[in-house]
Symmetry: C2
Subunit: 118 residues, 2 copies
């Protein structure tokens, strides 16, 4: 699947240690490991402007809607995305039927953007 | 400028008349009129998944970051976007310096997404 997963590495979460890596950076590390060798490109990004709902990712793919998700926890986000991204990639337009979406996608959706014009 | 302005036509606002057009539809009408004949493509969209912050638009352009804005009022959004979109189009990457952004863009930003890979 040709999916790009943008991960905000600047997201801070409550309880982040002042000197340790931020929650967003920890999320990026977890996702880069989870998708090693797979057809998901994990891209670190400085700020997706969803600072009030850390942690945040955006899922994009040619010809498909882009989805932005917030409220992700670095501790379990990899499992959620390993479940949700193949469902996304299996659709022609990126729109997964509501009941097939991971709950974290239903509750955490921040915005969606139509497919980029070809 | 080759800018696409996606306008959510399904956004409801408090005080929308039950039988009249929704705030999102009114916003789309206002923006389509405001940008008639200009190099901004105004596209109606069914739901940008920002239902808690009506009204909502997304601004996209090849090679530039996509921005999603909420909290727009159909009564004055056209003026705001006529101010803000040329500033966006004048940048190489879509990132307008903070102090040059319309206040409604600063406060209303919902998310931003990196430029689509070429």
């Amino acid at each position: 699947m040709s999916v790009t997963l943008y991960v905000c590495t600047t997201c801070r979460a409550e309880g982040d240690p002042p000197e340790g890596p931020r929650a967003g950076a920890r999320l990026h590390t977890a996702l880069a490991e989870a998708f090693t060798g797979e057809a998901v490109r994990v891209e670190p990004v400085e700020c997706l402007s969803v600072c009030k709902r850390p942690c945040t990712v955006a899922v994009a793919s040619p010809g498909r809607w882009t989805y932005v998700y917030g409220d992700l926890d670095p501790a379990n986000a990899a499992a959620i995305l390993r479940d949700g991204l193949p469902r996304y990639a299996a659709t022609p337009d990126g729109i997964v039927p509501w009941r097939e979406r991971p709950e974290a996608f239903r509750k955490g959706v921040v915005a969606r953007i139509p497919p980029f014009p070809a």
